[in-house]
Each structure stands twice: as structure tokens, then as C-alpha cells.
Symmetry: C2
């Protein structure tokens, strides 16, 4: 069959299965990402091995799907950048900032320790830690909303700490990619850092001056979908430049592009368009492609303890790190515990970090499969743990489906 | 450089150059497709040979871009299907239907004759004729609007005839693909036609029953971008099934999917989303990819007469065919001439037919390059000829940029 036809059939299966599984997942009170990841695992080599069905004979099909998944990741990071609410973070204040910062350091240390004790060298161990650092609070925020406690100190602290977490992880990933690539001498490390700083200054300062004006100009011109074309083109350029020129991760560039456009009057139009682009096909393709690249069977019996320990490390490191930060920031012990538990679910950013690490050879199949399992389990566990820490509201509303907050 | 980075850089260049060239084109009173095609020719092997710059070392980059272009074509055909206004066609009545039908037959005969006299066999000659059959009236409609005569018999006839033209060309292309693939015996031809009929009946009748209900259901469910995901998935499925099961062109499937969703209450939401998806990046990628696949230099000195004759045949066959049909339908000679001239510009559907023919081996590089030139020249000429046939309105408004009607 013609390669294009194979791509069409594969995209049809992926989009329909992902969206159906995501919906079923929300019907069961779980976030849609859980269903989308699980269906990816089922379609992938773990169970059905879809891309090796006789109907899919094109050797480049997997590559093409992975390219589309990469584009989905960039748009996801752009949207994440747009949604970063620096004001909310500042308002949440010291406990949020401390919880965010220590909540990133603790998983890197503890996850790194796990890697180190499992025989990985320093760079690989540190990267394993980094994959555990990225939180995903949408499911926790949804749970707190159901419990009618999102507008408390814990809820606001959670949202603020999540912003700190996002920004820190993206920055640390970039530093890591730069240093890991050229860490042969002190001079090369300095050069790597200098390139990063130059890129960041140019991208944020120059981009922050030029892009809003360019956007306003394009909006006035009679160009069909001009604003969205500009936003996409800048996302592609920033992602390319971040890695090719700045020596950082491509997602950092997309994130910065989102940060800049999120502060222009075009925000609403761009967010709407990017949302369609992302959630109608590219993000489902990304989540399923994670499963397509994961062979959970490769874990084998010997790998299961590693994955299980990673789950424990992931939860404990966030509870301890974020909890400690919140406590130092003035929260009570109970509030600090709740915030730490709320921060312990992982999601797409952790998967993105793992994907970057996988394609750079910084983590192997076993670690990648473990990260996928860790994301699945923490996503399942966090709402349960969080609900256990709160008394049920008397006669409260029925839980609302999680899809109301996008992954 | 990493293949994904190369793709990002290529997409950035393509989107920015296409949109800028399209805008410049509208500033010069031309439709944006003219600029987008020209910049594609410049970026392609004809001038800059972009995909062979040292920075683009990935041998699959061209393939990936061509896949994205294919997706763009399908979405374009879906939108075309959505916009088919059967009521307007019926209202325009007999002259429109006759102009549409004879306006398709004449280019096939005359274009086929050109191919035959140039030494091509019957199948190849007929396909050359078919590439000349697809009209694109958006630039003519825009011109008539500027002249304030769109709401006349000629204007309404033009829009009606264009619908007939669209539907007929899509159907004929499908018949052609089916018959050309298995025309070894009468029995196989009958089997091909039977498959087509079965596919069309199932796709239109069963799809027409199921899809609107499915759409209404999905809209009520808490699925992020569920309606758009459904529309895209159905487009992929229909396109795949049209070719893989029905033995027709994939674009026919996308066109039918658009026809069905265009008659549901979801039309506006889907049209908005598809428009963003199409014009923000995939359609510019398609137009540029045409240029990337065209080597106008391959025409050589010997090929130029063929291309020039094709331009003349393209214009004359529409003027004669559509004019005759309109005359038979009751138009005056003057009205029939104006309608025929208005129908003589070609656009994306002609290019799509040529792309399908190229990948099926039904036309070669020389014919493909000639079709691109024919589209460029007829797009340039038609508004000039049309204006010459109308007296200027005294104190009329300034011409408005063509981008107000999408390509």
C-alpha cells in the first residue's frame, strides 16, 4: 500500500483510539492522558505491535509518526509557555517558590541516587533524576476543585509551585543538554553556558521587542490565518534555534515563544488555534507514540523492581521536597503534606523530558519504560491520596470529568 | 543536524516565505496562490534548490514535507466539499449546469488532443486533458465583486458552474484512477466501477446517516477538541478508504467527508478549525511543495512550446466549452463569453489532479511543470481579460485585496 495511505490509516487508528480511550478514562474519573497512554502501550510493541502489522509495510512510517509527535510536543510546550501565569506565582508567594524549587531538587537527588545505585554513571543518573522532576498538577487541581478547596492556600500554592516547577525543569533540561554535549573541559562548559545565555537573551529580549509588534502588524494585513502562521513559524524557528544555535532542548524554544505570545493581545486567538492543532490530532499522536516507542515487555522480570522503586522515589521525592519547601515558606504540616502529595503526579512534561533523553542516548529502553509506568501510576495514585487527606464535603457535587481541564 | 531540527527549519522557511509571497501577491492585486506557487518555484530546484542545501542532509526530509503537503491537500478538499453549495447551483439553473458539464468535457478533449499530438498514448493524453478541466473561480469571483457585477446572471452562473466543475472533476479523476489501474478486460473494468459505486453508496448513504449523529454525540461529550478530532479522523479514514477500498483518488474521500459534515450543525466549528489547520501551515506547505517538486528548467527550450500551447488550450477550452454551455442554457453571446473567460483560471484543484497523476505515473516531469506554468499564467491572465470585457464602473471602489476570498 502507498506510504501516504498507510500514514492516513495509522493516523485514523491513533486519533480514534486515543480520543476514545481518553474519554473512557475521564468517565472512570481519571485524566484523559491516562487512557491515551494506556492505549498507546496496547497499540505498541507491548501488546498489538500495530506498526508491524502487514498492512503497514513502509519502513519510514514510524519515523513520520514520531515527527508529527515532535511537532505535537512543541505545540504543547508553546501552550504551556502561554499559560505560565507569573502573577499567580508571585501572589502564591514564598511557600510556592520554595516548594517549586526544593520540589525539583529532591527528585533529581533521589532519582539520581536510584540511578547511581543501579549502576548508571553520573550523567545518566542525573538525567534519570531530571525525568522525575517535572510535575503535572492538572489532575490535582481538578481533584481539589471537586473537593471545593482549590481556592485555599494549598490550592493556590500548588498552582504557583507548578509554574516554578515548569520553568525550572525546562531550564535545567537545557543546561543539561548543553553541558552533556560538550563537557570535555571547563572552557567548553563555559562556552556552552555562554551560548545558552546569548540565545536566551536574544530570544527573550529581542523576541519580546519584535514579536508583539510583528504580530500586531500581521493581524492588520489581509493574510489568511496570518497570526497563526506567524505563531507556528516562530515556534518552529525558536525550537530549531534553541537546539541548533543555543545548544539547549528544542522544547525550551517553543516554551519561550509561548511565553512571549501569551503576553500579547493576540493570546486568545493563538491559544484557540494552537489548542485545536494540539488536541485534535498532534497531542494524541504524541501520547500514543510514547506507547509505540515503549516495549514494557523489555522491562522483563528483572526490570520490574527498578520501575516500582522509581514510582516510590517519584512520590516520596515530591512529597518531601515540595512539603519541605512549603513548610519553610510558612505552611502548617498538614498543608505542606497536601501540597506535596498534590505535586506528586507526573504527566506530559516528564514524558517529554524522557523522550528528549531517549533520543540523546541519556536514558535507555528500560528507564524509558519505567518512566512511562511511573507517569501512569502517579497519575492514578495522586487523586486517591489527595482525597484521603481531605474530609469529603457533605453533599458536595458529583466529581466532574477531568477533561474540563486539559491535560 | 538532527532530522527533526531540519524539518523545523524547513517548515519555518516554507511558512514564512509562502505567507510573505502570498501577501505581496495580494498587494499587487493578484491572488495569494500566485505568490505562494512562485516562491515554491524559487525555493525548488528551478532556482535555489533549498532541500539540497548543506544544512538539509536528511534524505527523508523531502518525503516528510510531501506527506504534510498531502495532508494539506486532503484538508483543502474537505473544505472544498464543505463549501459546495448545491442550492446555489440549482438556483443558477440550466446555464450553470450546462456550462459546468461542457466546460469539463471540452478541456479533456482539447487537452487530450494536445497530448495525443505530442506523442502520448490514450490514457496519458486523457489525463493531461483532465488536469486542464478543474477550474478555480475564486479569483474571477473576486474580480466580479470588484466590478460590482457578482450578483448578475454571469456571476451567479459562474459560482454554480464552478460547483458542477468541482464535483465532476473529482468524480472523473476517481473513475480514471480506477479504470487506469485495472483496465485489462471488460470484466475488470466492471469490477472497478462496481467497487467505486459500492464505496460511494456506503460513504455517502451510510456516512450520511451515521456521521451527523456521531458528531452530535461527540459534541456533547467532555472530549477536548472532540469534534475536530472526529472530523480529521473521518477525513483520514475516507481518504484512505476511497483509494484502498474504492480504488478511487484519496481526495474524493476527503471531499465526500466535507460534503457530509458541511450539512451538519457542526459546520461552523469544523470549518473554523480546518481553516486554521489548512491555511496556517499545511496549505502553504502544499503550494511550496509543488514548486519543490517542479524543475522548470527540466522543460528546456524544447518544452516551452508544449507549456505555451497548454496555456492556450486551457483558456480556449474553457471559453469555448463553458461559453457554449451557457449559450445553450439561454445566456446571450456576451454573457456566455464573460462566463467562459471567468471559468478559465485554474488553481489548487488542477495542481492536486496533476500531483495525483504524477505519483501514479500518468504524467511526467515535463507535463507537471507545464501544468504549474499553466496555473500561474491563467491565474494572471483571467482577471485582466475579465476586466477588459466589462466597462469600468464610474467612481467604483478601489480593488480589494484578493485574500478576502481564500484562495
Amino acid at each position: 500500500m502507498d506510504p501516504v495511505l498507510q500514514l492516513l490509516l495509522a493516523l485514523f487508528i491513533i486519533v480514534v483510539m486515543a480520543k476514545s480511550a481518553g474519554y473512557l478514562s475521564t468517565r472512570l474519573g481519571q485524566p484523559s492522558v491516562l487512557g491515551e497512554l494506556l492505549i498507546g502501550l496496547i497499540l505498541g510493541p507491548t501488546v498489538l505491535n500495530m506498526l508491524h502489522w502487514p498492512v503497514f509495510g513502509d519502513p519510514h512510517l514510524e519515523e513520520t509518526i514520531s515527527y508529527l509527535a515532535h511537532l505535537g510536543v512543541l505545540i504543547l510546550m508553546f501552550v504551556a509557555g502561554m499559560e505560565v501565569d507569573l502573577e499567580a506565582m508571585l501572589k502564591a508567594g514564598r511557600p510556592a517558590v520554595l516548594a517549586g524549587v526544593i520540589g525539583v531538587i529532591a527528585p533529581i537527588l533521589l532519582g539520581g541516587l536510584q540511578g547511581w545505585l543501579s549502576g548508571f554513571d553520573l550523567a545518566h543518573s542525573a538525567f534519570i533524576g531530571l525525568t522525575l522532576a517535572a510535575t503535572s498538577v492538572s489532575i490535582s487541581a481538578q481533584t481539589l476543585m471537586e473537593l471545593q478547596v482549590l481556592r485555599t492556600r494549598v490550592g493556590m500554592g500548588l498552582l504557583g509551585a507548578a509554574v516554578v516547577d515548569d520553568v525550572l525543569v525546562v531550564l535545567l533540561l537545557s543546561v543539561f543538554m548543553g553541558v552533556a554535549a560538550g563537557s570535555s573541559s571547563l572552557l567548553s562548559v563555559l562556552w556552552v553556558l555562554a551560548r545558552m545565555v546569548i540565545f536566551l537573551v536574544l530570544a527573550i529580549w529581542l523576541g519580546g521587542k519584535i514579536l508583539p509588534r510583528l504580530g500586531a502588524l500581521v493581524e492588520r494585513l489581509p493574510i489568511s490565518e496570518g497570526v497563526m502562521a506567524l505563531a507556528l513559524a516562530v515556534t518552529f524557528l525558536y525550537a530549531w534555534a534553541a537546539e541548533a544555535l543555543g545548544g539547549m532542548a528544542a522544547i525550551t524554544g517553543a516554551f519561550i515563544a509561548g511565553l512571549i505570545f501569551g503576553r500579547t493581545p493576540l493570546r486568545e486567538e493563538i491559544e484557540h488555534g494552537m489548542h485545536t492543532l494540539a488536541y485534535a490530532w498532534l497531542v494524541p499522536v504524541f501520547f500514543v507514540s510514547i506507547g509505540l516507542e515503549t516495549n514494557a515487555r523489555a522491562l522483563g522480570v528483572s526490570g520490574i523492581p527498578f520501575a516500582l522503586i522509581m514510582v516510590v522515589v517519584a512520590v516520596l521525592s515530591k512529597v518531601i521536597g515540595c512539603g519541605l519547601g512549603a513548610r519553610l515558606g510558612g505552611f502548617t504540616n498538614g498543608e505542606a503534606l497536601r501540597l506535596g502529595v498534590g505535586m506528586s503526579s507526573r504527566g506530559e512534561v516528564g514524558l517529554i523530558v524522557a523522550t528528549v533523553g531517549m533520543s540523546s542516548g541519556l536514558i535507555d529502553d528500560l528507564v524509558f519504560a519505567s518512566v512511562v509506568i511511573m507517569v501512569l501510576v502517579t497519575t492514578l495514585l495522586t487523586p486517591i491520596m489527595l482525597r484521603a487527606l481531605y474530609p469529603r464535603p457533605a453533599g458536595g457535587p458529583q466529581p466532574r470529568p477531568a477533561a474540563e481541564i486539559d491535560q
